[in-house]
Every structure is written in C-alpha cells, then in structure tokens.
Symmetry: C2
Subunit: 350 residues, 2 copies
DNA sequence: TCCGGATTGGACAACGTTGTCAGATGCGGC
DNA sequence: GCCGCATCTGACAACGTTGTCCAATCCGGA
C-alpha cells in the first residue's frame, strides 16, 4: 500500500496504476473506513466537518468504490436487470437507452439480457441471475410481462419487479404504462376528422395485451363516429414489418379497399406505406396511414408517418425510478401519449 | 448455513431461498473449495474421478459462482466493456446484439456505456470504469476508435482493447475490420454494369475513417470504368438520415442530376429514396440508389435497398473472441462483405 | 457534579471467490 | 526399501466493501 500514488483532481494528473481504496480515503481524511462508508451511502449520523473532510478526500483521490466489493458485502448491487425478447429493435433501443441514461444519472448500471420468451426454464434463469448478481431490480417488457410463471418465481424470490406494459390484469406488480386504448381512439378520430369513413386496421401480435387495447380503442371510436369498419378490413399482423407488408397487400388488393389504414405499430405502418408505393398508390393522396409508437422508423421514410408518440424512453426511465425509489411512491405510473401529425395522413380527396 | 435447501436439477424443484455457494459444492463432493475452484476455472491438475465428482455436485446444486466474489478475488471479471457514441441506433443495435450473444456463449457479460465522443475526460472515465470493474477488455467503435488520448490511456492502464474500425493507422491495437474500399468499388461496379455513367455520391462523416475509404474506393472504380463523377455530384453528409435527405435534395434539384447515387450508409440511402419520392421520382426507374451496411432499414422501405452487407454482428462477435482468446490468435481480423442486390437499383432506362 | 440519552466514530467479522504455498500421495528407478 | 519427482489437494490469506455492535463524546437536566 506504500506504492500508492496520490494524484490531484486535475486533467493533467497521471492515471493511477492502482485505483484508490476506501482505506486510502480514510487515511487521508483521518477517519475509519466505516465512516467513509457512511458518507458514501448517505447513512447520516456524521458530523459536518467530518463529512466535509471525507468528501474532500474522495474528490482528491478521485475515489470511486469498487462495485464488486460493494455488492459482495452489502445488500445492493447498483445493478438493474432488463430481460427482453422483443423483436422490434427500434422499440428495444429506446427502452435500453432510456433505462441506461437514468441508471447513469443515479449511479446504477444496467445488465441487459436477451432471452427466449418460450423458454420453460426462464423463471429459474431469471431468479438465478437476479440472486447471483444481487440485482436491485428487474424490468420486464412485453411479451415477457405476461408470463405467469416468471412473475410467480420473481415474486417468490423477493426481487423487485417493474413491468412496462399495459394495465391488463390486477395489479400484482408495479408497472409503467400508457393508455393504449385512448391513444388508438385518438388515431381513429384524427382519420374521421380528415373525412375518411372506410377504415382499415392491421392488428398487432395477439400475445401482446397492447394489441387488443389498440384494436378496442380504434373500434370504439369508429363506432362512436358512425364509421364503417368492415370485418374483412381488420387483418392480423404481429408487429413485424413483414407481417404488415403482407396485411397491407391484402387490404390494398381489395376492390373496396379502405382509404385510411391504422397499423398496430410503426413497423407495420411503414410496411403499409411501402406496399402502397409498390402498388403505385401515393400516400397520403390515395391512402392515409397512421402508425403507433413514433419509433425512429416513422421519420426515416417518405412520407414521414403520422403516429401516436409513445414515450418509450421516458417509460423505461420511470421504471428505473420505481425500482430505485424505495417503494414510497405510487407503484403505477401512467405516462401521456401524443398524436404526431405528419405527412402520411391527409384529407379524403373528392 | 444449516437452512440451505438441497434441490435436484429438475424443473419441479423449488427455487432455493439462498443460492448454493462453493462451500456447498465442496462439501457435497467431499473436497476443498480450492479444488472446486480449480474445476470451475479449468486449471487442470485435478484427478479424473475428483473432476467427475465435483462436476456432479455442481450440476446437482445448480451451482453458479457469484460473479462479484469471483472478480473481487481473482483477476478476471468476466465482463467486457463496450463504449460508444454512435448516433446510428441500427448499427449499434447490431454491434450490441452480436457482442452480447457471443458473451453469453462464453459465460461473459457485456457492460454497455454510452458516452460523449468529445468529452475531454473520456480517457480517465474509461480507465476508471475498466479498473474499477476489472473489465477483461474493452471494445471501441467509430468514432471513438480514433481518439489518440483514449488509446494512450487505455494502453497505459494495460487494458486489452479491440477496435471495430477500418485499418487506417499503424496497427497499435487489435482490431476487426472489413475492406471498405473494395466494398465501395464493388458498389460502383454494380452501377456501371447496369449502364449508369453519371454517378453521384453522398459522403459519410469526415471524422470516420470509413467515410474516406468508401469515397476513395468509389472514385477509383469510377475512374477505372471511365465513368463521370463530377465534383459537384459529390456532396457531404454525416451518416444521419437528415444529412442524407438534404444532400439528396441538392443532387436531385440539379439540372444534370446523376442517374445513380451511392450513399455512404443505409440511413442516407433511405433518405435518398425518401427525397426521390418527395420529388416524384420513382426508384429505380428514374434513380438507382446503393447504400452501405445492410442495416435493418434497408429492408423496411420500398423499394428495399441494394446495399453492401457489412457483417456487423459478426464483427462484434469477433471482437469479443479476440478479447477472450488469450491473444494467441492473429490480432487483426478482416471479415467479408457482400453486395446485396435488391430493388433500389435497375438498368439505366433508354 | 453526575447521569442518561443522543450522536458520532471505529474494530472486526462477514460476503464468496481465487492466489499462494506447502503438504500429501503415487510412482518409477536404483 | 528408499528417494526424488510429478501430480494432486487443501489451509489460509487476500480482494474492498458494508453490517454489527460497542465505545467515546457531547449535551442538557437533576
């Protein structure tokens, strides 16, 4: 420990060969390691001047605690796990981005673990990773949020969990959501306002609760406004571009094809625009398209998509907050959506 | 330790309240903890039957070592750091995906850290995270790969590093690359084969070495084939969709506009297609477009992009391999590219 | 002056693994 | 039968932090 090299907190300081430990800080501040620990963890019960001295020593040494030792000794790992099996890379990129950013702000890190949604061993795997790493919490996204066995196992292991998911079932865990149904209603009303009355819809993956809510909202609004929504104008999809393309081709080949289509997400909406291009139809002149999510793809095609902006990054950040905040706040957080009117929708011609 | 609950390795076994430790395994196998450690880390020098006994105990208890304790005590963390500041979420998603997958296969984990490419404190930050977490290695992507101060600091701290980057400078670190120049040449030749002779190009971000190589390759091939590549048909971009859109609008407004455009990446190629749509031009009838990367966006627009397939996921996986393999293999890995001919290119009409 | 309680500080044992180093064992050769 | 050497095994001390628990100090009131 004698070869430890002090270095001042300026930019020209050499990078130390060995990182400072809590002992170095304690020595420099003239206190015990435990007192340093108290300061670091805001345990309170430390006198003003001691506190200042320790803080100064930490700054001088550019000390940061070793996370491994910390989580080995303590109860927390400052690590949050994000398990997912969602094929939409745009959606997941936003989720990860939002979560990572908030974690960084709070001094946490994010462990992202892709997995298989139909793996029967998933509950064991998740609990194993959680206990092994002493994860401070788990974030789940669709479609994992609906696996009962996973929820049971995680609850039994006493690992805090937040689901990013529509509020479909009795609230057995904390979760972050938005009102998918109201959002879909808003989308339908936008089309109605533009004068469209023959609407089509491409559904999302039936395993995702959100898919059903969006369908319900859209149908409600159509009914309220007296619009026709023929059964064969509601076609299945699974949130993927390919499924959307196929569905759109079906709709656009119909003799009585709809003049406006609401797709369950942006990938399928983009596919609808692509299919329209292929069929020689101009968007929005010949066909209006509304998407859902406002994922990056919405603005990376022509025309840019009119879509429901889902605050994905904010939702992920809120999930982190729920996990870190000591459960004192409301365990359900509903965030606002917004209709982004761009150029894929227009008035019904004629 | 008396309340530890044994459980067999079948699916009905209850999830244990406390995870098994190396002591439990040692006790069950009738050996010391050190011997268990030897088996786990393949240190060799363990008798056949002892090995089998330990392996059986590990399996029975579903034992997995605590990663925190492991990296606290040992030299390795089984953790690889990926620092990045790349605005292309598609590219980064592939990088992360490829790296995570390979890490999982090898029992490692990936710590992803977004950062600011122009943060003067970056070298210190990276070294700090690396030493603190005892990272087994670092992966860098453009444009971070070109920061000399970062490379210096990392080298001084003795942290293994792999760059995913074109081979622009003397090989001071291991790296994974592809031949950007040859790939760009291939793209130009494809356009020449289709009969185009008035070509345009949208350049990538000048800070990325790859941008220059792609330009050079494209120009070489054009010269070799005797094609015209007018100076004002080469316009700047920065790899973003927005920059590509602006560049494409400039090119398409020209009275002598090119009949084919090579964009520095897929985002800008997609923007070119979008701009063409906006201008009432049909792709590929009125304009051929070639991209670079074969990122997801290439197949999510209409028409799907002809592009150079860059094996991004494989490159990330190779980077992980280089880091984990004990430096025995060649520290430079060049992977193959491929021209994906889709429907954004076609013969020159007339 | 002394006492009780609140506040602050510190010694020491976890936490679960690997590194070090010495000890035990087995085997072939003389 | 003994020695030397290679092979295998284990006791014990790190690793860097937090938790537990007790000691010291300070304050106001009796």
């Amino acid at each position: 420990m004698t070869d430890f090299q002090l270095y001042a907190a300026n930019d020209r300081a050499p990078v130390p060969a060995r990182a400072a430990t809590i002992f170095d800080v304690a020595r420099r501040a003239g206190v015990s390691t435990k007192t340093v620990s108290r300061v670091l963890n805001n345990e309170g019960r430390v006198a003003e001047d001691t506190l200042a001295r320790v803080r100064a020593a930490v700054a001088d040494l550019d000390y940061r605690p070793n996370p491994n030792a910390r989580s080995l000794a303590g109860r927390r790992s400052y690590l949050i796990g994000l398990f997912y099996d969602n094929p939409s890379s745009n959606y997941m990129a936003d989720i990860k981005g939002g979560a990572i950013r908030r974690c960084q702000e709070k001094g946490y890190h994010l462990l992202t673990e892709p997995c298989e949604a139909d793996d029967p061993n998933l509950p064991r795997l998740m609990v194993s990773v959680a206990t092994r790493f002493r994860l401070d919490g788990l974030i789940l996204t669709p479609p994992l949020v609906d696996r009962q066995d996973v929820l049971d196992a995680v609850a039994a292991a006493n690992v805090p969990l937040v689901r990013i998911a529509p509020r479909t079932d009795p609230e057995r865990t904390a979760h972050v959501c938005m009102d998918d149904q109201a959002a879909a209603r808003l989308a339908a009303e936008h089309l109605a306002d533009l004068g469209h009355h023959r609407l089509g819809m491409i559904l999302g993956h039936p395993d995702h609760g959100a898919a059903m809510l969006r369908q319900r909202g859209f149908q409600q609004a159509a009914a309220d406004r007296g619009l026709t929504l023929l059964p064969h104008h509601i076609v299945p999809g699974d949130f993927s571009f390919a499924s959307g393309f196929a569905a759109a081709e079906r709709l656009l080949s119909l003799p009585d094809r709809p003049t406006a289509i609401f797709a369950g997400n942006d990938d399928m909406a983009a596919a609808t625009v692509a299919a329209a291009n292929k069929h020689g139809l101009q968007v929005p002149r010949d066909l209006s398209v509304v998407g859902f999510d406002d994922s990056p793809i919405a603005q990376v095609i022509w025309p840019p998509l009119t879509t429901i902006r889902q605050p994905t990054m904010a939702m992920a950040a809120a999930a982190v907050d729920l996990l870190i905040g000591d459960g004192e706040s409301e365990p359900v957080r509903q965030l606002d959506f917004e209709l982004m009117v761009r150029q894929s929708t227009g008035p019904l011609p004629g």
